[in-house]
C-alpha cells in the first residue's frame, strides 16, 4: 500500500470516529434541558430561604501570589445572593503581599460588619504546599454541607451559588461543575478562548445527560461534603488536582452534573506563552489521570458509567492520537484539496463547523458574549492556533512521560 492510500485510510478512520463523537455531542447536548427540568421539578416548591436553611455552603479560595485579585474575589463572594455562606481564603505561602491584602480587606470590610449570615475564615499557610493542599486545608476547616472550589481570579455571578446549591436538594447528585466563561476579551486570544469555552461547556450538557462528567474544573466545582470521607481529599502532589479528583469520583460511581445556570467568569491566559504553559499542564495532568485510572477504560464494573468507560474515554484518547497525527494529515489534506482543485468539501466543512458553533451559542446558555459570537465565522481559522497549543501540549506531555520512564 502506498503512502497516499495509508494517509487517506488513516484520515478516513480518524475522521469517522471524530465525527461520531461530534454528532453524539450535537444531538445529546440539547437533551440536557429535560434533565434540568426533571431535577428542578423535584425542588420546585422549595424557596430560596429554605434552600439556604437546608444547605450551608463553604467556598474555598486558594490563593498563591494573588495580591492583585484577592480583594475582588472576596467582594464577589460577599455580594453573592446566597447568605448561608462560609468564605474560606487559604493563603498558600504567597511570597507577594497576598497576606497583607487579605488582612487589610478584613479590617476594612469584614470585621464588625453585618455580613447577612455569611462568615469568613482566613488560613495563612507559611509554606507553599500546592493548590490541592490549600483546598484540603480549607475543606478540613469548613462547616458547610457543600464545598465550592474556585480560583482567586474567578468571579461568580450574584445568583451562581444559589443556582448551583439548589440542585443538591436532589440527594442523588454528588458533585457538579459550574458554567465557566472567559472574562478577558481585550485581545484575540481572549476572544478565541471565549468561543472555545462556550463550545466546551455546551458539550458538558451531553456529559451531564449521560452522567459521565469526569472533569470538574477548579474554577467552579461544587461537591457534597460527605464525598470527601468516601473518596478522600484532593491529591496534594498532583498539579491538576481537579482533573484527578473528579475522575476519581467517577471511579467511585458518583453522580456528577453540569450546572449551566451557575455562571462564573475567569481570566484565561492573555499571552500565547501563558496559553502553552496552561495547556501543557492540563494535558499532562489528564495523561497522568488516565494512567492512574486506566481501570476506568473498557470497564464492566457496575460502578463505572458505561458510556464513559466504553465510548467517551477511549475516544478522548483517540482524539489525542489524532492531535499527534494532525501535523502529518492536515498538510496532506490541504495538498489533496488543492491538487484536485475541488474546494467544495473543505468549504462545506467550514460551514458545518461554523453553524454547529452558532447552534451552541443560540441554544445553550444565554449569557454568551456578543463580541465573540460575531467572530464565529472566522473561528475555524483561529482554531488552528488552539490546535497548535494542543499539539505542543501533547508532545510536551509525551516527552515528559518518556523521560520519567527512562530516568
Amino acid at each position: 500500500m502506498d503512502i497516499r492510500n495509508t494517509i487517506l485510510i488513516t484520515s478516513f478512520v480518524l475522521s469517522g470516529i471524530s465525527l461520531f463523537r461530534y454528532l453524539i455531542y450535537l444531538f445529546l447536548s440539547p437533551l440536557y434541558t429535560f434533565q434540568k427540568i426533571k431535577i428542578l421539578k423535584k425542588i420546585k416548591s422549595i424557596s430560596k430561604v429554605e434552600v439556604e436553611k437546608k444547605l450551608k455552603v463553604s467556598v474555598i479560595v486558594p490563593a498563591w501570589n494573588e495580591e492583585v485579585g484577592i480583594a475582588d474575589a472576596i467582594t464577589s463572594l460577599l455580594q453573592n445572593s446566597y447568605n448561608n455562606l462560609e468564605i474560606i481564603v487559604v493563603n498558600d505561602g504567597s511570597v507577594d503581599k497576598t497576606d497583607t491584602a487579605v488582612k487589610k480587606y478584613y479590617e476594612k470590610n469584614i470585621r464588625n460588619k453585618n455580613l447577612y449570615g455569611k462568615s469568613f475564615i482566613y488560613i495563612n499557610k507559611k509554606k507553599n504546599a500546592g493548590k490541592g493542599a490549600a483546598i484540603n486545608s480549607g475543606i478540613k476547616q469548613s462547616s458547610g454541607d457543600l464545598i465550592v472550589t474556585m480560583d482567586a481570579d474567578t468571579r461568580f455571578e450574584k445568583d451562581a451559588i444559589y443556582n448551583a446549591a439548589r440542585y443538591f436538594l436532589d440527594k442523588d447528585i454528588d458533585a457538579g461543575v459550574g458554567n465557566v466563561k472567559i472574562a478577558n476579551s481585550k485581545n484575540i486570544l481572549g476572544i478565541i478562548q471565549q468561543i472555545e469555552y462556550t463550545i466546551g461547556f455546551y458539550f458538558k450538557r451531553c456529559h451531564s445527560v449521560l452522567n459521565c462528567e469526569y472533569i470538574i474544573g477548579g474554577a467552579f466545582g461544587i461537591f457534597r461534603k460527605e464525598i470527601f470521607e468516601k473518596c478522600g481529599f484532593f491529591d496534594e502532589k498532583n498539579k491538576t488536582e481537579d482533573i484527578e479528583f473528579s475522575t476519581r469520583l467517577k471511579s467511585f460511581g458518583l453522580k456528577t452534573i453540569f450546572i449551566e445556570d451557575a455562571i462564573a467568569y475567569t481570566e484565561g491566559p492573555s499571552t500565547f506563552e501563558g496559553l502553552l504553559k496552561q495547556r501543557s499542564r492540563w494535558k499532562k495532568g489528564r495523561m497522568d489521570t488516565f494512567l492512574r485510572y486506566s481501570n476506568l477504560f473498557f470497564s464492566n464494573n457496575k460502578n463505572h458509567n458505561f458510556f464513559l468507560s466504553w465510548i467517551l474515554l477511549p475516544i478522548a484518547l483517540i482524539g489525542d492520537l489524532d492531535l499527534i497525527l494532525f501535523p502529518i494529515l492536515t498538510p496532506f489534506i490541504f495538498y489533496y484539496t488543492f491538487e484536485s482543485l475541488d474546494y467544495n468539501y473543505w468549504i462545506g466543512w467550514i460551514i458545518f463547523f461554523t453553524f454547529s458553533i452558532i447552534f451552541s451559542y443560540l441554544f445553550g446558555s444565554r449569557k454568551n458574549n456578543i463580541r465573540s459570537f460575531l467572530l464565529i465565522p472566522v473561528f475555524y481559522f483561529a482554531s488552528y492556533l488552539l490546535i497548535f497549543t494542543e499539539i505542543y501540549a501533547i508532545i510536551h506531555s509525551v516527552i515528559l512521560y518518556l523521560k520519567r520512564l527512562i530516568i
Binding site: 461530534y22 458539550f203 482554531s383 488552539l386 490546535i387
Partner: protein, 58 residues
C-alpha cells in the same frame, strides 16, 4: 480546553473526506447534503426548545 475540545477541532479538519464520500456514494450534491444536515440539527434544537416551553407552562 480542559476536556478535549482541541481534539474535536483537530479531528474536524480531517473530516473533509467523510462528507465527500457520502456525496460520492449517494450521488447527491454535497451542499444539498450539508444543508439538510444543518436543517435537521436546527429543527431538532428548535423542537426541544418548543417542548421545553410546553413543559414549563404546564
Amino acid at each position: 480546553m480542559y476536556d478535549d475540545t482541541g481534539a474535536v477541532l483537530g479531528a474536524s479538519a480531517s473530516a473533509i473526506i467523510l462528507p465527500a464520500t457520502a456525496s460520492a456514494l449517494t450521488g447527491i450534491n454535497y451542499f444539498i447534503l450539508l444543508g439538510l444536515a444543518l436543517a435537521v440539527i436546527a429543527f431538532y434544537n428548535i423542537s426541544i426548545k418548543i417542548i421545553e416551553k410546553i413543559i414549563k407552562t404546564k
